[in-house]
């Protein structure tokens, strides 16, 4: 391959390849997250969810996509046509651009920027223009109110979430995604466990930043029809939709990288080998898991009601089997390849766990009122995040000056932050009640 | 020396009722009725125990030294002032509790009878609203009354005096939703104010003349001041104090409130308006007997007023039909007896009658309450009759009390009444005659009451007839106990002539004689004993006559009373309407006070408001108008002139200062261009 491509372009080839893969795969992934969401919701509400298209509705996303793309494209008469056209593009572009710095595994990264994290934050913070301009360009009150709410919400929660991330940056001492993961390996603990409050604040902040329940006020259907997307339909609407789910994956990726150890395997420092081979016990886990899923699908296949569904189910089983083969085969590949493939597996597993938490929260909590949302952001999360950051600073001093362990040094910080959290919650309760009483 | 416990803690006796009163009045609303009962009656019972303890510890002291004071704290610190005779004196008053035989007897009566009436009330008031309020007031009354009798000086006594007055007002108006009740409360309060004014003046005069308000210092002060018998100052003090006593104890002319006070609940009538509070006047006169003994004219006034009141009230009592009104006038009458006793110098007899009266009159009221209770609130005797079989316990106890008040041998009333009459006979036959006649009337109207209520034919309404029932145990037990006391009460001072030893009189003598040992009345010699026996027999005869008369009129010939009333039409009407005294007072005082109010109102409206306030307002408006003109044209004008001048001078500057930010920025740019040009110019020269 080396002799086919001029050497000056060589360093750009792999990143471009990755970029193409991401752009191609992401819509599909988003569609399947939607399916996952509907299925999880159905499960939590004791229903079945989509069952018709494909076995267990597995082909539903594709049907949805086809429907969206075939819909008539409507631009409102009084809309600002340029902006109306431009806004969804901004959203989706910024969402996709952020992937360029995300490290899916030790090998899968478009660009290892030394300001990687800041880059992702910067790019994803530009996504707001898609929402705001789209809401404004629609020339509709619902859209404009949704856009304004979105702007206020994003600005407020970006601060809190950013402060939550800073606690990790202090511990890792780097902005590069790779270095942050490496730091977690070196310190022997995922930062989500050593700074649980940073993780908590980022979790809440990231839900708010992706406009998901219980913070989905910009698109609260009971108040604003569909918020900033009210006037959008068809393909443009699906762009917004794609951007939203791409953003979910982004924040999940950031959280995974910063708090959940990125592509690290659980027990990354445990190196017991299977006797007689160079393979570690824990490395065999992914292959066995996917194999189990494949077998389960195969077992389900005969019970499907329609023939086509049986076939698709078998295909799913075959797909899983293939993945299992790849994962198993990687065990015998050179370490770099092995780590790349398994890292990607673990990374995606964590990302989906985080997204599952999103869904869980969405179907558990009722929607906030706007003033409650603002109070939570400014009066609870930001002070808490500040205390947490200061505490982490103290912990680092303790570690450097008194040689405390990486986990022990953070325990006082966590306790102090917990105390402040309780204080803030207690302090806020009467105010909240008074305001509710005055407001209603 | 080890001070006896109960004497040392004498101040606790009023404190217990105060505590429960506070609890009742602040938190009582939330308490269950039985808790209220236990707390209130319990606290009075504890006070009674302490009183008994104090009494016995006092008795245990030697005869002449039965006196003890306990200073709780200084109230009015020593204030120097000049007395009337120019001597310098210190005005001192403390919360100082005093116990001597007199106050010992009083606290026993107050707490003992008070406890029984509390117990009675738990039954009587069980179904009334404001249960806690009633007991709160009642306990507050107990506190005030105990303060009154335990006080060591006039000031503290006045506190109790006013306290009982307040509680009396509150309790008379207990059914405040009834206009008659609240009116009666106000009447009692206002009439008492007249008496209290006299009492207060008496206190002032006492402190100015004698230089002290402490009771135990009055005797030495009298001695030191070398006052003679009949000293006009002392007479004035005594008369003023008697005005107070007359107000509190319902003597002519201030008796009018007491009959109306029957609007209150019956236990209140029993406790406050029969047994304790109304006797405060008698107690006070006795307490200050040292002054009275040096003022014979005042004593005569007291005796006369007492005797006339006794007769006067008795005549009214004869024709009343309301069972409680009869008892009320009877009370006024008996109080008259007590004052008669005091007036003739038989203070001990007065106090003794006070005690026995507390027993039997308390019993009468309670029994009357029991009757009323049985008849579902009926008070008119014309609608009673033939109840003796239906409510036997009430009947028998009431009969005992009636016998006692009538003075039948050997009930309590016999002893005390005859003691008074005997003393009066020694002093003045006229007074004795009035008292003697009154005793007969008392027997008559009391038996009239009994006969109308319990005997003859039933005149009870049909509605009520079905509900007649004997009262609950809580009411009957106090009746029985008081009945017992009414029977044996006289024994504590059984006359020597009948083989007794007059214990009670001797016990009290130190108090009465404390002022001037030398002036103690000598004990009656054997020569007067024959007379005493004769007097007793005479009065017994009259009493029996009165009873028979009542029997004849109200059992035998029931149609006769109406005929007699018709025959004596004018007089009957006069008496039936209580001699029109209330109407007289209305015409003389109440309406005149209203006229005065109207006149003052007119004065306020037309003179103070019209001329004063409105005139001042007009003047102010006028001045402010002038000031406004000055401000507008002179002050403002000069300021405006200055502003105008500045405005004219600033015209050229304002052309540049147009308030537009962009034109200012333009000037910045112009300045920048200028600076840069100058810079280039300099650089050009530097190069060349």
């Amino acid at each position: 391959m080396g002799h086919l491509i001029p050497p000056s372009i060589m360093p750009f080839v792999l990143p471009v390849l990755y970029a193409v893969v991401i752009v191609a795969v992401l819509p599909l992934l988003a569609g399947y997250i939607v399916l996952m969401e509907r299925k999880v919701m159905a499960d939590m509400q004791a229903r079945l969810g989509p069952m018709r298209v494909g076995p267990h509705g597995l082909l539903q996303p594709i049907a949805d996509a086809v429907k969206l793309l075939l819909k008539e494209d409507i631009i409102p008469d009084k809309a600002d046509r340029l902006m109306f056209w431009f806004a969804p593009l901004v959203s989706v572009t910024m969402a996709l651009l952020a992937y360029s710095a995300l490290a899916i595994g030790p090998a899968f990264q478009i660009a290892d920027l030394n300001i990687g994290l800041l880059f992702i934050l910067a790019i994803s913070s530009l996504g707001i223009y898609g929402i705001v301009l789209g809401g404004w360009a629609s020339n509709s009150h619902y859209s404009l109110l949704g856009a304004l709410r979105s702007a206020a919400q994003l600005v407020s929660y970006e601060t809190a979430a950013g402060l939550g991330l800073i606690s990790v940056l202090l511990l890792a001492g780097s902005l590069s995604m790779k270095d942050i993961v490496q730091a977690q390996l070196d310190q022997g603990v995922w930062f989500g466990f050593s700074v649980p409050f940073g993780f908590f604040i980022y979790l809440v902040g990231s839900i708010a930043e992706t406009n998901r329940a219980p913070f989905d006020l910009p698109e609260a259907e009971s108040e604003l029809v569909a918020g900033y997307m009210t006037e959008y339909s068809g393909f443009r609407w699906s762009l917004y939709f794609l951007a939203e789910y791409a953003n979910m994956i982004i924040v999940a990726g950031i959280a995974t990288t910063l708090f959940l150890g990125g592509w690290l395997r659980p027990g990354a420092r445990y190196h017991e080998h299977i006797p007689g081979t160079g393979i570690e016990w824990l490395d065999a886990l992914p292959a066995l898991l996917t194999l189990g899923v494949a077998l389960y699908s195969l077992k389900l296949a005969p019970t499907q009601p329609v023939k086509i569904q049986k076939i698709v189910m078998v295909l799913v089983a075959v797909l899983c089997l293939g993945v299992a083969c790849v994962l198993a085969g990687a065990l015998f590949a050179p370490p770099a390849v092995m780590q790349g493939i398994h890292g990607a597996f673990w990374f995606m597993a964590k990302v989906f766990a985080y997204i599952y938490a999103f869904l869980w929260i969405r179907f558990t909590f009722p929607r906030y009122r706007f003033d409650q949302l603002m109070r939570l952001g400014w009066r609870f999360l930001i002070p808490l995040a500040l205390v947490n950051v200061i505490g982490v600073g103290v912990a680092i001093v303790l570690r450097q000056q008194f040689a405390w362990g990486p986990i022990v040094s953070l325990i006082p910080t966590t306790l102090a932050t917990l105390g402040v959290a309780m204080l803030l919650a207690k302090d806020d309760a009467p105010v909240a009640e008074a305001q509710t009483a005055a407001g209603e | 020396m080890n001070t006896p416990y109960f004497l040392e803690h004498i101040w606790l006796i009023p404190l217990f009722p105060l505590l429960t009163a506070a609890v009742m009045l602040f938190y009582g609303r939330k308490l269950a009725n039985n808790i209220v009962s236990y707390l209130c009656a319990g606290s009075v019972f504890v006070s009674f125990i302490f009183s008994v303890g104090a009494f016995f510890q006092l008795v245990a002291m030697p005869q002449g030294e039965r006196f003890f004071t306990k200073l709780l704290f200084e109230w009015v610190p020593a204030v120097p002032y000049h007395m009337f005779d120019g001597r310098l004196a210190q005005f001192v008053a403390g919360w100082e509790f005093q116990i001597d035989p007199l106050s010992a007897v009083m606290i026993l009566v107050v707490t003992g009878v008070g406890f029984l009436i509390h117990v009675y009330s738990t039954g009587y008031m069980a179904l009334e609203g404001g249960y806690y309020r009633f007991f709160g007031y009642l306990n507050l009354f107990m506190f005030a009354m105990l303060i009154l009798v335990l006080a060591n000086n006039f000031l503290m006594m006045f506190v109790g005096w006013e306290g009982v007055g307040t509680c009396s007002y509150l309790l008379i108006g207990f059914y405040f939703h009834r206009k008659s009740a609240s009116d009666a409360g106000k009447k009692a309060f206002i009439v008492n104010r007249v008496g209290d004014a006299g009492f207060l003046l008496g206190i002032f005069l006492c402190s100015a003349v004698l230089g002290t308000v402490r009771f135990s210092d009055i005797g030495p002060a009298l001695h030191a001041g070398n006052f003679q018998k009949g000293d006009p100052w002392l007479t004035a003090i005594a008369l003023l104090l008697f005005v107070g006593a007359a107000g509190k104890s319902a003597q002519i002319p201030l008796y009018v409130w007491l009959p109306d006070a029957m609007e209150g609940p019956t236990p209140v009538s029993a406790l406050i308006h029969a047994a304790t509070m109304v006797t405060a006047g008698v107690y006070m006169v006795t307490r200050t007997n040292a002054i009275y003994q040096l003022a014979p004219k005042a004593m005569y006034v007291v005796a006369l007023v007492g005797a006339i009141t006794a007769l006067f009230a008795a005549t009214i009592g004869v024709v009343q039909n309301d069972i409680k009104k009869v008892l009320a006038y009877s009370t006024v009458s008996q109080l008259g007896y007590m004052f008669l006793a005091c007036g003739v110098g038989a203070f001990t007899a007065g106090i003794f009658h006070l005690m026995t009266h507390a027993f039997f009159k308390g019993l009468l009221f309670l029994a009357a309450g029991s009757v009323i209770h049985a008849l579902s609130g009926e008070q008119d005797m014309r609608k009673m009759g033939a109840l003796s079989k239906r409510i036997p316990v009430t009947y028998w106890t009431m009969l005992i009390a009636t016998l006692a008040i009538a003075g039948i041998f050997p009930f309590a009333g016999f002893v005390s009444k005859d003691l008074i009459l005997g003393k009066a006979y020694e002093q003045d036959v006229l007074l004795w005659a009035i008292g003697y006649f009154t005793a007969g009337m008392t027997a008559f109207y009391m038996f009239r009451l009994v006969f109308m209520t319990f005997h003859g034919t039933s005149r009870v309404d049909h509605e009520v007839e079905h509900h007649i029932h004997e009262s609950p145990k809580a009411m009957l037990v106090p009746l029985v106990i008081l009945a017992g006391l009414s029977i044996v009460g006289g024994l504590v001072s059984w006359p020597e002539i009948l083989g007794g030893n007059s214990h009670f009189v001797h016990f009290l003598e130190p108090v009465v004689g404390m002022a001037h040992q030398s002036r103690i009345e000598p004990l009656k010699g054997p020569s007067s004993r024959i007379g005493e026996i004769n007097l007793m027999l005479m009065s017994e005869g009259l009493v029996v006559l009165g009873i028979l008369f009542a029997w004849y009129l109200y059992i035998k010939r029931t149609e006769l009373p109406a005929k007699i009333a018709k025959g004596l039409n004018g007089f009957y009407e006069l008496v039936y309407h209580k001699y029109y005294v209330d109407e007289l007072y209305d015409a003389l005082f109440v309406n005149r006070a209203k006229d005065l109010g109207l006149a003052l109102g007119w004065f306020d409206t037309n003179v103070i408001n019209g001329v004063g306030v409105d005139g001042a307002g007009w003047l102010t408006r006028f001045v402010s108008r002038a000031s406004m003109w000055w401000d507008t044209w002179i002050v403002d004008g000069s300021v405006k002139l200055g502003a105008r001048i500045v405005w004219v001078l600033s015209l050229p500057v304002r052309l540049i200062q147009d308030g537009l930010v962009q034109s200012y920025m333009l000037f910045i740019v112009i300045g920048l261009i200028g600076f840069l040009g100058y810079y280039f110019y300099l650089a050009h020269h530097a190069v060349h």
Binding site: - | D658, L660, V661, Q662, M665, L666, V669
Partner: protein, 100 residues
């Protein structure tokens, strides 16, 4: 290698456009945005000279300028909002009295 002059020309162009915007536009918000443009032009200069001398002092000053811009935007927009609530206008030449 791009000469420093090119950056300076760029900076000058942006600066001039900003100055014209501030001086001529009636809308206060556009004026504020023009000021941001001027600050941005300054930042380019600072960055170029920082790069030229190989130190980071210029970048530090640029950070201070951005801080300043943030403060200015916050307060300026707050004033504009308050003014708009009172007067229903955002035109600079209608803001010609000191007090209302």
């Amino acid at each position: 290698m791009i000469p420093v002059d090119d950056y300076l020309f760029l900076s000058l162009a942006l600066f001039t456009i900003g100055v014209i915007g501030v001086l001529t536009r009636r809308n206060v918000i556009i004026m504020l945005m023009s000021i941001e443009l001027i600050l941005n032009a300054v930042n380019i200069n600072l960055m170029v000279f920082s790069r030229m001398w190989g130190t980071v002092d210029g970048q530090v000053f640029a950070i201070f300028i951005i801080t300043d811009a943030a403060a200015e935007a916050a307060v300026g927009l707050g004033i504009i909002l308050a003014f708009f609530h009172n007067r229903e206008t955002v035109l600079a030449d209608e803001m010609d009295i000191m007090k209302w």
